[in-house]
Symmetry: C2
Subunit: 263 residues, 2 copies
Amino acid sequence: MENASTDRSTDLEALEQSLRQEWPYNTSLAAFRRAWTLEGPQLWQRVYDVHGDRMQIKTLGPALRNLEKIFNCTFRLANTKGFQAMSLRDLSRETGISMGGLYAYIGSKHDLASAIEAVLRDVIDEVMSDLFRHALGPYDRLKAIIYGDIYMNDVMHSWYYFCYLEAKGLTREQRDSAMQLELRFDERLRDTFTEGMEAGVFRYDGDIDLLATNTTAMLQQWYLKRWKFQLKATSIETYADFVFDSVLRILGGHRPQSERAAD
Amino acid sequence: MENASTDRSTDLEALEQSLRQEWPYNTSLAAFRRAWTLEGPQLWQRVYDVHGDRMQIKTLGPALRNLEKIFNCTFRLANTKGFQAMSLRDLSRETGISMGGLYAYIGSKHDLASAIEAVLRDVIDEVMSDLFRHALGPYDRLKAIIYGDIYMNDVMHSWYYFCYLEAKGLTREQRDSAMQLELRFDERLRDTFTEGMEAGVFRYDGDIDLLATNTTAMLQQWYLKRWKFQLKATSIETYADFVFDSVLRILGGHRPQSERAAD
DNA sequence: GTCTATATCTGGATAGAC
DNA sequence: GTCTATCCAGATATAGAC
């Protein structure tokens, strides 16, 4: 991933460059997708990186090709009839891979669900780490969180939807980590609110923890209520604008002069 | 149900009496529970009314006693491991009723899920019909919807949670009705907003449909994110106040003089 | 690396005794 | 009205050929 350097000196460099600038990936869904390539071969490569050690197949060519088939068909089946209700025979038929073949890619049915959760966490962690590595003012930070998260929800829709609805099938550890991840996201929102209030950008005398919690909930709607948005033909930009606008209205916030930059 | 008269003349009477008054059941959770008795024997009687024709047992005594066991254990099992993952042998062990015994109360495993959905719909319909039979001003109507819905979510928590997460296991018809019910709820919120704007009680220039949609989402949080509210020890009154306050802030609304009544 | 064939078991559902 | 015993479809998982 070119966007997420793990090298310390590069981190510092990026951090300085980005001071007082907008997060560069939230200007549009198209820009986000171009920057983060969470689709196509790079996605399946990531799946292989995370899950490869549990596979018998080591040749990259067929591995990536079949991982794509297996995961995509799992989403199609699980997100309509449910993961428990989906049999591996269903999956075999749908992918065109035999039963025996499937087991060269997954250790067990549960392993498959587990891998999906692990890959999604990996992606979220990478994108959010990058977002918080940029030093943004509270207004731009809030904007980056909201737009970035909705874009990510959109690109990784099947993954989020699966993890939300099949959480009960995961291990205790995985459920706990998922809860921790959500709590951490809430905290980051809350800290952004607090920071903005201290800076005089927001003024709000209500319950700031609950506001963070419910902002998270509004963001999750983009993958949880897809049927409704499709029915009403609501575009992703419309929805992201709406969420941002709603939170600002509650917070009593407007973009401060000091944060006006490239945008 | 004493609260939901189907008699027309009584309807009109209640309607006149309630003009310009608050909905009488949203003053506190305790008041709501006292008025609507959605627990105990009356609840199982309702289950029997809705689902009884599919049962072999016709004697009311054991019927109510075992229905309570079966449904409560189903909630405990399904809401932890999932309905599909729960076997009827699990349910048999948990209830203390034999496999054969269970089948005297349900036609099939799927029937059980189906009955849960049907009973919940019945309750929602009854409570909401009553709410909208009262002629309230837009401010009080909004308050009644928000508090009433959260109270109902709380009392019927297991039922809501089950229906939300096991929706995929239901028939196409049932899923469609559930979606219709939610859309109708959104519409009623939206109409309340519109009415309030026309009356000058609210002023809002944003997307009113999305606001209704996301208000519904905030209300659903009370049963979807119970783990978070328990963790943070958020009381139901605190949460209901917060949601009402947030929507009012977005709408730019305050309680008008004209709607001040008994409260 | 992929397939066929098969072992093994679990779960839903029913028959019939009490 | 409730239980025991049993049937059998369908599920996961593996062995071993190609």
